[in-house]
């Protein structure tokens, strides 16, 4: 009797996991597209400075490990000014209070980008109390000046 119950449970668990993994594939693709869109937008904003030789922009990939999405490769952007490099790196699609987190960091300094459910990016300090401001060319500029200084 107990074995039958366990079997039912395992069947249900398997069904749930199968449907979830299908959803997760879609979620991961959508997340990677959102990361690429953001990195494209940041690159566009920084293109004038890069064209002038003030910055170097380089794309790469990192391995992200998330419980929900598993292990996957995600794009990163490196912004170099002289010897200083700010990395714009995806941290997780699943984040509390948002639908994705990307960190911008240089050494111990960092800024956090949280994607809202309305697909906007909020730029803030790592402090949970800091709700941040919407990412714009202006707020990005302020963040980069902080991180590169």
């Amino acid at each position: 009797m107990a074995t039958e119950r366990l079997t039912d449970f395992l069947r249900r668990h398997q069904r749930d996991n199968t449907s979830k993994s299908m959803d997760l594939g879609k979620t991961k693709a959508e997340w990677l597209a959102a990361i690429n869109d953001l990195l494209d937008q940041i690159s566009t904003w920084l293109k004038p400075a890069a064209d002038e030789g003030l910055l170097k922009l380089a794309r790469g990939e990192i391995v992200v490990r998330e419980e929900a999405l598993g292990v996957y490769q995600a794009p990163v952007l490196q912004i170099q000014s002289g010897v200083r490099v700010v990395s714009v790196e995806p941290i997780a699609r699943v984040v509390f209070g948002g639908t994705g987190r990307i960190d911008m960091g240089h050494g111990p300094k960092s800024r956090v980008l949280i994607r809202t459910r309305q697909n906007k990016w909020m730029l803030s300090t790592p402090d949970p109390k800091d709700k941040g401001r919407e990412l714009t060319e202006e707020t990005l500029s302020e963040a980069l000046q902080f991180l590169l200084s």
């Binding site: 984040v95 209070g97 909020m122």
Partner: protein
């Protein structure tokens, strides 16, 4: 009105279950995304959650331990008060006689440790369990005073230690009012 140890124990177990439920629920991407930006969890990832919840469970255990020992203290003091104020009829137990001596010397300022020593003197076979319970009192003292001195001799103490030692005390001192009734 004194808080019943049973209520504190129930609170502890419910709180532990809530922490486990939170950990489970927040693994769901939709629930995680719905966390308010006012939340102290805002911006955290599920990978960071176990450490935070472990810290919360550790702090909860300390706070519950303090409350639990305090509730036992209330029971012991109420019983002491009842015994010393009881009309002097017939022969008193050894413990009650010891309580009278304490009352005459210290009155309401009688220390809980002295009260336990009075119990121990009346039940020589209970020396070890009374000593163990006094160890829990030292821990309560450390907790109640802001944990500002080095924590020595309390390694691994938690609400289960308190429960176990209170149960042992209750078993060794049958005339003690019930401490652990769950």
């Amino acid at each position: 009105m004194a808080t019943a140890p049973r209520d504190i124990w129930l609170y502890y177990n419910r709180s532990l279950e809530v922490l486990a439920l939170v950990e489970s629920a927040l693994r769901d991407p939709d629930i995680a995304a719905a966390v308010s930006s006012d939340s102290p969890f805002y911006k955290m990832t599920p990978q960071q959650l176990p450490d935070v919840l472990k810290q919360m469970a550790t702090e909860l255990a300390l706070e519950v331990s303090l409350a639990l020992v305090a509730s036992f203290e209330a029971i012991l003091r109420i019983d002491f008060d009842r015994q010393v104020r009881a009309p002097a009829t017939g022969s008193k137990s050894v413990a009650a006689a010891n309580f009278q001596k304490l009352w005459r010397t210290h009155g309401v300022r009688t220390r809980l440790e002295d009260l336990l020593d009075a119990w121990r003197a009346a039940h020589p076979g209970a020396t070890k369990v009374v000593g163990d319970f006094k160890g829990v009192l030292k821990w309560r003292h450390w907790l109640a005073h802001g944990r500002y001195w080095p924590q020595k001799g309390f390694a691994g103490f938690d609400p289960y230690t308190v429960e176990k030692r209170a149960k042992a005390l209750q078993k060794a001192l049958p005339s003690l009012p019930p401490l652990v009734d769950w």
